[in-house]
């Protein structure tokens, strides 16, 4: 309740602050999926929301509003720009054995960074950002992905966020764009909110090569310790690829993680996903195969089959069923449905 009241007051204050202007440009208006540009200030406010229902085969059903994220961007055309993503987690929850509750709602900064553009090939980023491993982690927001469930390989073996310094940009290589990022996470003092399984320290990087307008490949590496397991150093490498054409999509990621601790198993994890558009390109069939080595079990495998409906580009309804073997802990069997909106 307190959050919604505060949000309403914030919107009213913004509306008062905005002055009318001759409509030579149309960017001052709010557009669904593009946020609200605050007239000539360089500020843009937006975000996304996601609600889901899960019905695991071997557990009670549950309903959650899992993500309510607010983007605040500042870019006034100078060499500096700022981005933050403030997320309200566990906003609403209910279940078979649980009445509707909001007392677990909390706020956390998912991302919080400043970019300094040096030139077209180099940008310096300082703050908290998404770890550049694979593609899914960099676009994991519910309105941008095709399934309610997230592949194990995209979040299980590394911290999904890093806090520190990143150098990123692109250059021409063999007449195609090669994008790169290199980062270091050596302190938590600039992490406004400690992530789940955060890095204690990490260095890593990613290369992404755009072979054509429809095909890109990526390679990632990371060398890190986790805050909760500081005695072990991990070494991770990954490959990913995505092909897309006229709403058809094929994507795949694979990672391999080793460690210098004799008792920690080396693990391979990966997935391959296909998306096929149906009538009027608003309905899509999604299929995904995943495999994941597990520290305490044999290799798990799952298959996901789902439907997605996009009445408008920023809105998606999803329905899927997941089943597999040796998957009870990391990716249990069951049905799930969700609604996500980019606003």
């Amino acid at each position: 309740m307190r959050f919604s009241t505060l949000f309403n007051l914030f919107v009213i204050a913004l509306s008062i602050a905005i002055s009318a202007e001759a409509a030579e440009d149309t960017d001052s208006a709010y557009r669904l999926g593009s946020g609200y540009a605050v007239n000539k200030t360089g500020l843009r406010i937006g975000g996304y929301a996601n609600a889901l229902i899960g019905a695991p085969r071997a557990a009670p059903w549950h309903f959650e509003v899992t993500d309510l994220s607010l983007f605040l961007t500042w870019d006034n055309g100078s060499r500096l720009r700022f981005f933050s993503e403030l997320e309200a987690g566990d906003v609403l929850r209910a279940g078979e054995h649980q009445s509707l509750e909001t007392q677990n709602a909390h706020f956390e900064f998912e991302r919080f960074y400043i970019d300094g553009l040096v030139n077209n090939n180099l940008t310096v980023r300082l703050g908290k950002f998404l770890t550049p491993i694979g593609q899914w982690n960099l676009i994991h927001a519910a309105p941008l992905v095709w399934t309610t469930s997230r592949p194990v390989a995209t979040e299980n073996s590394f911290s999904t966020h890093a806090s520190g310094l990143m150098l990123h940009g692109s250059a021409l290589f063999a007449n195609r764009q090669l994008e790169y990022s290199v980062y270091g996470d050596v302190t938590n003092s600039i992490d406004p909110h400690r992530s789940k399984e955060p890095f204690d320290n990490a260095v890593g990087g990613q290369l992404r090569y755009l072979l054509s307008d429809t095909l890109q490949i990526g390679a990632s590496f990371a060398n890190f310790t986790l805050t909760n397991l500081q005695s072990s150093r991990y070494y991770l490498s990954g490959l990913d690829a995505m092909w897309s054409y006229q709403k058809f999509e094929l994507s795949s990621e694979i990672i391999y993680r080793t460690s210098d601790h004799a008792n920690i198993k080396n693990t391979w994890q990966g997935f391959a996903q296909s998306v096929i558009p149906l009538f009027s390109q608003r309905w899509f069939v999604v299929g995904r195969y995943e495999f994941f080595d597990q520290s305490q079990d044999t290799t798990g495998q799952v298959g996901v089959l789902g439907l997605a409906y996009r009445p408008l580009p920023p809105i998606v309804w999803k329905l899927e069923y997941r089943m597999g073997t040796h998957n009870e802990i990391l990716a249990p069997d069951g049905l799930s449905a969700s609604f996500a909106i980019l606003f």
């Binding site: 409509a23 030579e24 440009d25 149309t26 960017d27 999926g33 593009s34 946020g35 540009a37 843009r44 937006g46 996304y48 983007f71 961007t73 870019d75 055309g77 100078s78 060499r79 720009r81 981005f83 553009l117 030139n119 077209n120 676009i139 927001a141 309105p143 941008l144 692109s170 764009q177 307008d213 580009p313 920023p314 980019l342």
Partner: protein, 145 residues
């Protein structure tokens, strides 16, 4: 019958959409030291992948409304896609705090903005170019899908 056939041909040329579309001029302010631009560089600017010009100024790419035929031809020519087909790409960029090119209401609005704003770049029909701006590139749009 001898009259009907030529009449039909004339009607076809008059009523069907013209397949030859006039060139579009990619324009910038006359004070911009840049004199030419390659097609590939233009593409990167309009994907917001190229953020700065050679002088270190931020590019401000301008576009026309989604329903404007000029915009649609520009999009087909540059990206082989209609504007609405790029929405997935711009959703991802929005998630990363990057906005699409600024949308101006008309070609005259583009001309006024480009002529008065450092770093701005836009496109208008070649016939609309005047001495307020200079042309970096002429492109011949693809026919409509």
């Amino acid at each position: 019958m001898r009259i009907v056939y030529p009449l039909l041909v004339v009607m076809l040329f008059v009523w069907l959409p013209a397949r030859a579309i006039e060139p579009l001029a990619v324009i910038t302010a006359t004070a911009n030291p840049l004199d030419t631009l390659s097609f590939d560089d233009l593409k990167l600017i309009y994907l917001r992948k190229s953020q700065m010009d050679s002088e270190g100024n931020r590019w401000i790419p301008l576009s026309l409304p989604v329903t404007d035929p000029i915009r649609r031809n520009f999009s087909l020519t540059l990206f082989s896609m209609l504007p609405e087909e790029q929405q997935d790409y711009w959703n991802i960029q929005y998630f990363n705090g990057i906005t699409p090119p600024k949308v101006m209401a008309s070609e005259e609005a583009v001309l006024r903005f480009v002529s008065s704003t450092t770093g701005s770049i836009g496109y208008i029909r070649k016939q609309k170019v005047d001495n307020r701006v200079k042309v970096l590139l002429l492109i011949t749009p693809s026919a409509d899908k």
